[in-house]
């Protein structure tokens, strides 16, 4: 197909406190059906979405964190995390529940420039 576009989903919100993280994930899963070049960027509080060990029983909300591990099966394998955002939150790559590529702020900016479409959540 000649009209494959580069889509980037930019995730900047923590999970559960707002609906953005879950909405983003659902749109990503739907977009996967259209065979586009999809990247997911996690920056600012968005990196919290990928934190291991989420247990939502106490807040009676669906724990959607396991679904990030299903993305590979949907051929969505470009997951990026901003290094500074991790560090500001006392997190490292080992705290995350999926394999990601950790980027510097400069690399994040450059990757954003390469996209045809950016969807912000």
């Amino acid at each position: 197909m000649s009209d494959i576009k580069k889509f980037m989903f930019v995730n900047r919100k923590a999970p559960y406190g707002t609906i953005y993280a879950l909405e983003s994930l659902e749109v990503v899963l739907i977009t996967a059906a259209f065979d586009q070049d999809v990247s997911l960027m996690f920056t600012d509080d968005g990196v919290y979405q990928l934190k291991k060990g989420q247990q939502t029983k106490g807040i009676e909300t669906k724990n959607f964190s396991p679904t990030y591990r299903a993305l590979e099966g949907y051929d969505i394998e470009k997951l990026y995390v901003d290094q500074e955002s991790l560090a500001e939150r006392g997190l490292t790559e080992d705290d995350l529940l999926v394999d990601v590529t950790v980027l510097t702020r400069a690399e994040v900016g450059a990757l954003m420039d390469e996209q045809d479409v950016i969807l912000s959540f």
């Binding site: 559960y16 406190g17 509080d45 029983k57 997190l91």
Partner: protein
């Protein structure tokens, strides 16, 4: 007075403004504000510095939901929903920094 915060300190000024404005009392961190009381986050030092003036409580189910219950900062206390109610009942006034 009880101050309730529900926004992440790294993306919203609610907690910062509360710490700068309020004269003291109880602070209860809920929802995304619980990240403020996790070890190693960039707001930790600011929160610790405020501990002389404020008593910091953190709603445990919200910390558990976010996978952060194992890294509560020293000096802050867990509360459950019953503890939330007790805090509200124990204070004459209550302000939510929405």
């Amino acid at each position: 007075m009880l101050h309730i915060i529900n926004r992440s300190p790294l993306s919203d000024k609610a907690l910062e403004n509360c710490l700068n404005t309020a004269t003291g009392g109880d602070i209860l961190l809920i929802e995304d504000a619980v990240y403020a009381a996790t070890a190693g986050n960039a707001f930790e030092a600011r929160l610790r510095a405020a501990m002389g003036k404020f008593k910091i409580s953190v709603l445990r189910p919200d910390l558990e939901a976010r996978g952060m219950a194992d890294r509560l900062v020293e000096g802050a206390a867990f509360v459950d929903y019953a503890g939330f109610v007790e805090l509200v009942a124990a204070n004459k006034t209550c302000q939510s920094w929405l």
